[in-house]
Amino acid sequence: MKLPPNSGKRLVAPAVVAAFLVAVGAVAIVLSQQMLQKGRAEQTKATADREAAQNRLARTTDEEREIREKLVDYQKLRSRGLIGEERRADWVERIAEIKSARKLFDVKYTIEPQRPADYPGLAAAGDVEFLASQMKVVLALLHEEDLFRFIEDLRGALSSHVLVRSCTVSRLEVAAADRGVGPRLRADCTIDLVTIRDRKAKAT
């Protein structure tokens, strides 16, 4: 095959046209591939959404039963005052009432500032927060049973969940003559008073 001299120049224009046509095809492929990738991502999301919605619907009966059960417990917590802001003034009154009712010798307490509860197993959730106020209490006791009754009374009387973290019971050195009337034991306890803050809770 023989081409005339200076054929290169005469081939430039068709080469440009050919390159343009190839470029059109390539651009079309690239654009359509991008669209397809986007479409695949959309489809994955749409399928996941559909499966989630369908699964949720399928679980409706179980969920309704679960919600009804949990609702009962939730209402109990709410009526006890666990859900909502803590009521320290009420707590102080209740402690005083317990001391008086149990005829305890001496009850000294300190309630620390409230902080997020840091117990294992608490799932973090944006709208629900478990908060703990640590109370350090020193009791003068006649018998260790008084300590147990005091703690039990706290559980029943305070609008919070009572969680004892530590207690030290030590024997007081008492003269033999005073043994019949004075305290014989000293208890130093650390107790967490836990309340729940639910930002989505509706006012009663």
Binding site: S32, Y119, D198
Partner: protein, 527 residues
């Protein structure tokens, strides 16, 4: 698509035809002399650069069949070139056409060598084409078109003597198995061509010569019987030509009129008073034979045109392939969109159904998720809420059975690390909690109640190591038997092991010294 131009070259005239839409139009005609060639050059300069086919119809041509050894590639090309050079003085317009192989062991190849024997007459015309940079597809002989005409008019394989009457004269071409074996142009004046009896006479004369030649060269067997001949008669003269054709025993004559032949090959229009060359020209424009006479030098602008078209065609093919592939991808995309639409529709239906069901749920004081999280976390909190009286009760039970043990201090605490010794924990500090759970995950490690007991042994001589050890050991054993209780650490009043120091005062009675011990026991919450 640009028009094709056909240059019909005979001894008297050179005619330019234009072929488009299955029609041939006469564009210009020139006398075959120097003035005509000059006028042709001028005519070319005014034409668009269209593709030219040169069809030569002259007497000065040669056909020669010869067998060559079976060779391929460069050797074959060299051999054919050598053979052409041996036979023809000027090979610038020559060709070697394969007619197939002999069915012998040597498989010799039959080649039809052909060339124009007086090339000087073409030179001014071909030079004019080259100077005008006209793409010339090739130089063809009317004989090369005979197999196509024979095939179109009914004789695909059977031997046929095709007789055509064109302005150059009466051409007789012998075609066998679709291949040209021989062709000859017999002179016939224009005046004779119009007279059917003269045509018949010329046909008789020329056919007899051709038949004799074919028989002599053994192309046709001497006793092979009559051969078929097809005569294409001028328009309107079929009957007269047929009547005038003499009865030849060695040839069976069939006459077809030019108009019929043109209609059969698909030629829809051609100039009146044309000869059978219009059939060849039309077929040349539609489907040119692969063999032609011109060398590469004459065809260089045709090659350039091919290269240009090839580039654009390759680009168009790649572009089209790209568009096609893009189309396939887009089809997939639209398929996906359809599925996405279906998924979204089903999601909406499921969500609406759930909303209807949820509407029947009891009125909630908070969101469903908050209700769930609250109760889930509260359950986790309750699980790790221990009552000190549980483990202290275990200690009391063990103490009841150990009257000589007296406890001075009990330190109870809730911890995740029961084996961390007490001095490691700051006094009064809260037990170290495990790290908080990750968002959305409830990771609960076990919690332990741990109690450290500081006590003493009473009513035993401080020097009675054996008795003291037995009392403390019995207490530890009783503690260890309580369900879930594990004794983690023991500190005895004295060390009876071989690695410690042991001292005492045997002569002294029970004094102020009291044997004290310390124990650490643990119990997992909820056990």
């Amino acid at each position: 698509m640009s028009d094709k131009r056909l240059l019909y070259f005979n001894a008297n005239r050179v005619v330019v035809y234009r072929s488009a839409h299955h029609k041939l139009a006469l564009e210009s005609s020139f006398a075959n002399n120097e003035e005509g060639a000059a006028a042709f050059a001028t005519h070319l300069s005014g034409l668009p650069r269209s593709l030219f086919f040169v069809l030569v119809d002259i007497v000065e041509e040669d056909f020669h069949q010869e067998n060559i050894p079976f060779v391929r590639g460069g050797d074959r090309a060299a051999l054919l070139g050598r053979k052409l050079a041996q036979r023809y003085r000027d090979t610038s317009l020559s060709l070697a056409m394969s007619l197939g192989s002999e069915r012998t062991q040597r498989r010799d190849e039959r080649i039809l060598f052909s060339a124009f024997t007086n090339n000087a007459q073409f030179q001014p015309w071909l030079e004019a084409l080259q100077e005008a940079e006209t793409p010339v597809a090739g130089v063809f002989s009317t004989a090369l078109l005979a197999p196509q005409i024979a095939a179109k008019l009914g004789a695909k394989k059977a031997p046929l003597l095709l007789v055509t009457l064109q302005s150059a004269g009466l051409r007789q071409s012998y075609v066998e198995n679709g291949k040209l074996r021989f062709s000859r142009l017999g002179p016939l004046d224009a005046a004779d061509a119009a007279d059917p009896s003269r045509v018949a006479e010329a046909f008789d004369r020329e056919t007899t010569r051709v038949h004799q030649y074919l028989t002599a060269t053994r192309v046709v067997a001497r006793e092979g019987g009559a051969i078929d001949a097809l005569l294409i008669a001028p328009a309107g003269q079929k009957a007269r030509v047929q009547a005038a054709v003499p009865n030849m025993p060695q040839v069976r004559v069939n006459v077809v009129e030019l108009g019929e032949a043109a209609a059969t090959i698909g030629l829809k229009g051609y100039p009146a008073e044309s000869g059978a060359e219009v059939l060849m020209l039309h077929l040349l424009a539609q489907r040119p034979p692969t063999e032609q006479y011109a060398g590469e030098n004459l065809r260089q602008f045709f090659r350039l045109r091919q290269a240009r078209k090839g580039l654009v065609a390759a680009g168009a093919a790649l572009g089209a392939a790209g568009l096609l592939w893009a189309g396939v991808l887009l089809t997939q995309y639209f398929g996906l969109q359809e599925q996405i639409g279906l998924d979204r529709q089903r999601t909406r239906l499921a969500t609406e159904s759930y909303a209807r069901v949820e509407a029947a749920f009891p009125q909630l004081p908070t969101t469903t998720d908050n209700l769930r999280v609250t109760m889930q976390n509260y359950a986790a909190l309750t699980k790790q809420t221990a009552r000190p009286e549980r483990l202290i009760g275990d200690v009391s039970a063990a103490l009841d059975a150990s009257p000589r043990i007296e406890v001075d201090k009990l330190q109870w605490e809730l911890t995740a690390n029961p084996r961390v010794t007490k001095p490691d924990r700051p006094q009064g500090a809260s037990p170290a909690p495990p790290p908080p759970a990750a968002p959305g995950k409830a990771v609960a490690g076990p919690l332990f109640e741990v109690i450290q007991i500081d006590g003493k042994v009473t009513a035993v001589k401080a020097s009675d190591y054996k008795a003291i050890t037995a009392i403390v050991d019995a207490f530890i054993e009783r503690l260890g038997k309580r369900p879930g209780v594990e004794v983690l650490q023991t500190k005895m009043p004295f060390e009876l092991g071989s690695t410690g120091r042991l001292s005492g005062d045997i002569g002294t009675e029970t004094g102020a010294a009291v044997p004290r011990f310390s124990l650490t026991v643990a119990k997992k919450t909820g056990s």
